[in-house]
Symmetry: C2
């Protein structure tokens, strides 16, 4: 069994981007990071993004509106960033506090600066295989993990567990694309699927993004399967100082014994999302230079 | 075996729309039908759309630019229709002559008037389950055929043959949606799928949109399957006056013996597309009244 090392692959991408950005004369790519309120997970995500941007040489501009901001005020803030020529990419950290219409907020970000890939137009471009758009970071990171681990989806059966807008659907559309490395046959299962094991057992590549701790067990996979575990779940564990441990959607100890390749949690898909966000930001910068 | 009668279902929808449009006081919904050149199939499609519009009471405006029109001139023509307040829906008949970038042309149509559902934004809305958009007519017609035949996809395995932007991908996204009647588990197969029979034999509902005459044979399905045949292929047949006959992607004589429900070709999915185009046009009219 080969471990797919997301930390290593993400740091390779960061190094490539750093080298690329170093070649840029004059203004460097700039990402605006918008965080509403003080949700602890959001604070830590935004800090990580800021740190990685600095490592690469991408400028970051941090905007921290209070939790009392109205949706219209947030729209106005986004409109300002959309119009600002010194901003290439805009990220509004999810989850937003209760009361916000996330889809509407993400749609407000100009498609040309939507480095998070959540704008409706960019989602449509994924379906259209139009490379001028931005693929959202988790599915893009999954495809990059597979490509850099030598996994070609051509002629393989890819089973996706979960139909979320952020992972399941876009990764299914990417795996289906006609481009090199993709061309998979794709099955999408979800909470309403009957006899899910019968389907997961057919997977050559299994992408678990269902948000249930250790849902995928050894009896649900076939030997040799490639497993991408997108889940990050907290499970109570009194033996840990924090009182919990992190686990994926896959029962790693038993499934890893059967898999040919597998991502760990943490250290698999997680680190890739920030790397792909930066890759999108540099892409947005390049596309804006051309326009 | 029950035949799913597309002519009957389409004519029910046309009758419903006619009743709905009769209730509208003042200006009626209007669709602009744009046909470039004189492709015989396009001529017949546009004529059929015009005729159905008239039946319903939808105004149609026919624009017939010559095959010599440039893409920029076609864009200007579309821009004019986008800006025209008396036009609710715009259809640019596909296929366009060689040399046109179809995706770019379809993207030029304002999303609010894109009753063909080919605009990138409307495709993204299908993925987002956002009902304010327009679903393209063939996949919308398939879902309507299933719903009106009492086929609920919940907990069923839907196998889609074909990954086209016009049928395969959007119908897969629709079958996956969380709304009533959908909630299917979906597999998408295509020309690069290995051992396609092993997958089609698992289908509770099989949607064939692969463009190969009589590709699906009896050994590829399980008894009781529901079959939607999207193919329309011409096969040489010297016994026919025209020298050919129309056939679907399914070998009807043998597969229909196993199926619980099946669409014929012609008379299945085909008639639905025009009905759904008109349904989208009336929807566009209503949405524009609200805005």
């Amino acid at each position: 069994m080969d471990l797919i090392d997301g930390n290593k692959i993400a740091s390779d991408i960061v190094a490539e981007l750093r080298a690329e950005v170093a070649q840029i004369n004059g203004r460097k790519p700039c990402i605006a990071l918008v965080r509403v309120g003080e949700d602890p997970a959001s604070v830590s995500y935004v800090r990580k993004k800021e740190k990685t941007a600095a490592e690469i040489g991408v400028t970051s501009r941090i905007l921290l509106p209070p939790v009392t901001i109205t949706q219209d005020e947030l729209f106005a803030l986004i409109d300002g960033l959309n119009a600002d020529p010194s901003v290439d990419g805009i990220l509004v950290q999810s989850p937003l506090p209760r009361g916000f219409d996330e889809v509407a907020v993400f749609r407000r970000v100009s498609p040309e600066k939507d480095v998070d890939g959540f704008n409706t137009l960019n989602l449509g471009k994924v379906a259209q295989e139009d490379e001028s758009g931005f693929v959202s970071c988790t599915p893009a990171g999954i495809m990059e993990l597979l490509a850099r681990s030598g996994v070609d989806l051509k002629g393989r059966h890819v089973v996706v567990l979960g139909r979320s807008l952020i992972v399941g659907k876009p990764v299914a559309l990417l795996a289906l694309q006609k481009k090199s490395g993709a061309n998979g046959t794709v099955t999408i299962c979800h909470s309403g699927t009957s006899n899910v094991s019968a389907l997961t057992r057919q997977a050559d590549v299994l992408i678990a993004a269902i948000g249930r701790p250790e849902f995928v067990t050894a009896d649900m996979v076939k030997p040799g399967v490639v497993v991408i575990d997108v889940g990050i779940n907290r499970v109570a564990d009194p033996t840990k100082k924090a009182g919990y441990r992190l686990t994926g959607d896959v029962h790693f100890p038993t499934v890893s014994a059967l898999a040919s390749k597998i991502t760990p949690v943490p250290g698999g898909v997680g680190p890739m999302t920030v790397a792909m966000l930066m890759k999108n930001t540099v892409k947005a910068f390049r596309l804006r230079q051309v326009r």
